[in-house]
């Protein structure tokens, strides 16, 4: 019995210990659970907080993305605009300006359709300048619709204001424009050149994913301004070009008139030369006869002549000689002018040519006691026809001698020029030539009016002939002279 009780009490103790242990375990577990719950709670709180942060991140991120897209769009738009502007601004033909706006540029600006219209004052309606992305049928419908609703576009031009599917608040009007442009997203902006017809530029897209923004409006406005500016430039250029064309036409007409006159003058001149040549030729034959008969009479073969008659005959002979010279000179001038006289060019010693002329004139030089000085390099060679250049020297030295008083001085010098020519100067200490006559002396039959010329006979053909001979040698002749102190005749001929 005792052992049974004892057993029960032992079991009771064990049970009690177990219960106590269990309670202790449960308490410790509960403590642990409490701790874990606190951790979970804290983690959950952190997670909630992180979730809130995530929300902030997403909201900021979407704004950033939108801004970036707008920025990207603007950069791409500006880049395109720059390229397009360059193309437009270098176009000076009004009709070509609108054509510069090509589909790929438009695509880069975010649009696939476009219209360009300018006001036609004569027809009192808008006239189409360009279209992209529309069919022929759509274009003709649009033209009619724009004529019907022209006031909207005229107001746009008047107010100088860009509008778009974003900024247009009047929904009826918006729908109307949407229908005209056949797209839900659009920008319409006026084209405002300072001069000439104004108009408008409309771009549209069916893509509603990227809504129209202020940036789009700005870009399209800039583009329309560029078009306006280019139209203005084209018009100015056209105006200038037109004026220039008129001017060129006038110049051309005037040149034609002058050429005609010049040709007429040339014909007349040729006729004159021909006439002079013919007359001179015709004069020579009877002159030779006169001179011949006079010479026969003077020989006395036909009977002795009374001294008076002989004297008269000698005068006839002398005058015939003079007339013969005049006729020959005239004939030579006209021959040179008409190109009939060919210069027999060759290399010759200049000093020798001068010496031959000097031989002919030395008697008269001595007679007038003129100091004649030739200052020429003995080896100087020139490319000339020696006979003709000899005549030049005879004429020029003869003239110098004629107008230089007794005891005066005549000198000849020559120097090489850089351009392959030789300049010959014949100076005298004669009476000189008035400045006003210095050019005219080279014209036919011109004679300076002075005392000597009144006394000394001359034909007025010598210098004219000299000038033509020099010209035929591709040279030039001129004179420098001071009244009372002498003249220097200079001419150029080719070096030999």
């Amino acid at each position: 019995m005792l052992s049974y009780e004892y057993l029960i009490s032992i079991l009771g103790v064990i049970f009690l210990i177990t219960i106590i242990s269990l309670i202790a375990f449960v308490i410790s577990k509960m403590e642990k659970i409490k701790q874990l719950s606190s951790v979970i709670e804290s983690l959950s709180k952190s997670l909630d907080e992180m979730d809130e942060q995530a929300k902030l991140i997403v909201r900021t991120d979407i704004e950033l993305s939108k801004t970036q897209e707008e920025l990207d769009k603007k950069i791409a738009g500006l880049y395109t605009l720059q390229k397009l502007s360059r193309a437009i601004s270098t176009t000076l033909e009004g009709s070509q300006i609108f054509k510069m706006v090509e589909a790929n540029y438009l695509e880069n600006l975010g649009f696939e359709k476009a219209y360009g219209f300018l006001w036609d004052n004569q027809k009192n309606e808008f006239s189409l300048q360009m279209s992209i992305g529309y069919s022929e049928e759509e274009i003709s419908t649009t033209k009619a619709a724009i004529t019907t609703d022209k006031n909207f576009f005229l107001n746009l031009i008047r107010n100088e204001k860009t509008t778009s599917s974003m900024s247009l608040t009047d929904t009826t009007l918006k729908t109307k424009i949407e229908n005209i442009l056949r797209s839900p997203a659009f920008v319409v902006t006026p084209i405002l050149p300072k001069e000439g017809e104004k108009g408008f530029f409309a771009v549209a897209t069916e893509n509603t994913d990227t809504p129209i923004t202020d940036g789009d409006e700005e870009l399209i406005t800039i583009l329309a301004n560029e078009i306006g500016q280019a139209l203005e430039n084209a018009r100015l250029f056209e105006k200038t070009w037109h004026t220039q064309q008129q001017l060129e036409q006038k110049v051309e007409e005037r040149t034609r008139e002058l050429t005609n006159v010049l040709n007429a003058v040339k014909t007349i001149n040729k006729r004159k030369s021909d006439f002079v040549s013919n007359v001179s030729h015709e004069l020579r034959t009877p002159l030779t006869s006169i001179k011949g008969y006079a010479a026969i009479l003077l020989t006395g073969k036909l009977g002795t002549l009374p001294p008076e008659a002989k004297e008269r005959l000698e005068k006839i002979n002398r005058h015939s000689d003079e007339l013969g010279h005049i006729v020959n000179d005239l004939l030579d001038i006209s021959r040179i002018e008409s190109g009939k006289m060919i210069m027999n060019l060759g290399k010759h010693n200049l000093k020798e040519i001068i010496s031959k002329a000097d031989d002919l004139l030395s008697g008269q030089l001595k007679e007038k006691k003129i100091n004649f000085n030739i200052n020429i390099d003995p080896d100087a060679s020139v490319l000339v026809d020696p006979e003709q250049i000899g005549r030049v020297f005879i004429n020029l030295i003869g003239n110098a001698m004629k107008f230089t008083p007794a005891g005066g001085k005549i000198s000849i010098s020559a120097r090489k020029l850089n351009d392959g020519m030789v300049q010959v100067d014949i100076s005298d200490t004669g009476c000189g030539i008035p400045l006003g006559d210095q050019e005219a002396i080279f014209e036919e039959f011109f004679r300076v009016e002075n005392a000597i010329n009144q006394e000394v006979k001359g034909t007025g053909l010598g210098l004219a002939l000299v000038k033509r001979i020099i010209k035929a040698h591709q040279g030039k002749i001129w004179v420098k002279s001071t009244l009372g102190s002498g003249s220097t005749f200079s001419f150029t001929i080719q070096q030999g």
């Binding site: 979730d51 995530a54 909201r59 979407i62």
Partner: protein
Amino acid sequence: MSINVGVGLSTAKDPIHAAQEALQRARTRFLREKIDLVFVFSTINLSTLVILETIQTFIPEVPIIGCSGAAIIHDKNSYNNGLIIMLLGFSKEVYFNTACVSNIKNKTPIHAGEELGEKLLYGFKDIRRDLGLIFCDGLIDNTQDLVNGMQERLGKSFPLVGACASDNLKYIRTNIFHNAETLSDSACAMLWGGKINFGLGIKHGWKPLGKQHLVTKSRGNIIYEIDSRPATYLYEEYLGCDVKKLQNELRFISVLYPIGIYVPGEEEYLLRNIHSIENDGTLILQGSIPENSQVRLMIGTKESCLQATDQAIDAVNKELAGKSANFILVFNSISRHILLRRDAEKELEIIKKQFGDEIPVVGLYTYGELAPLTAIGYHGKAYLHNQTVTLLAIGG
């Protein structure tokens, strides 16, 4: 070399002119006489029947497969208007078969997938198959089912890689090219076997953000409820805006903040783009999402996106294990193009630079990419992905 490749690009706007130009360019680069297969990738404006007819005039009776894209990829550039023709010539040790399935909606995607799988297997009975390539209409509701159907026939672990065709972001019609047909509501595919080797890399670079959520009600590609609340609640909470605003900003939301499905063992979350947002708070996705999926809101940046490209290249090289590739196919999500914007070509430059000038890189921007999951539990089963860059290097 058991595979010979000739790639030709044209950016002409007239389809016939484009086809002639691209074909001529491809032929000048193609060194063999016999052309066995033609890949065609084209932007939607050029993806017309005349392209295929023009190709068949010059190369009759050669199988053609391909699809339309929002933009096409040729080496380091992408083109909004363009056509790529890739001519392929194989040695006798390389085997392939192409097939096509139409009327997917009527047939249901799963049955259509099975049909496509069967057609591919026909004529491929005693040959070991190594790789399947698929191009499917990008506007099919449940592409995953189509893939599942195919894998019913081809094997659940059979490597299947592909692209969902796209249009110019209008979501109106995408085109599949098969021989002389341009098709919608269709898919075309090819089986590849014999002496070929390939390397696959698929990454997106989006990171999870905020708490985990549970898809409590969904069917196919529609999520009705997340955490027992209307599905849009997730976006309303994070973006701080109502359904109306969410609908207006869908373009941003879909690209920047897709939904990420947690796949145990997978390095990255499986992404789903939002296709549309209904007024009642329902989200319609570009791919299916099973009920009770654990999902997170995802966030991507340009940097993380480009980092993923590098990782995808690494994965390709790892799989190639030193073997050479003859060409690289790139199926790049259109979302990446939208996110990267001006840097989109930078991504292509990275790819081109890695594989070198000699190896042609061709592909397109897609509405979805198809590739196996790498997590062991999925046994290489192919899934529809969004937002990824999928690189497939093929050599022989």
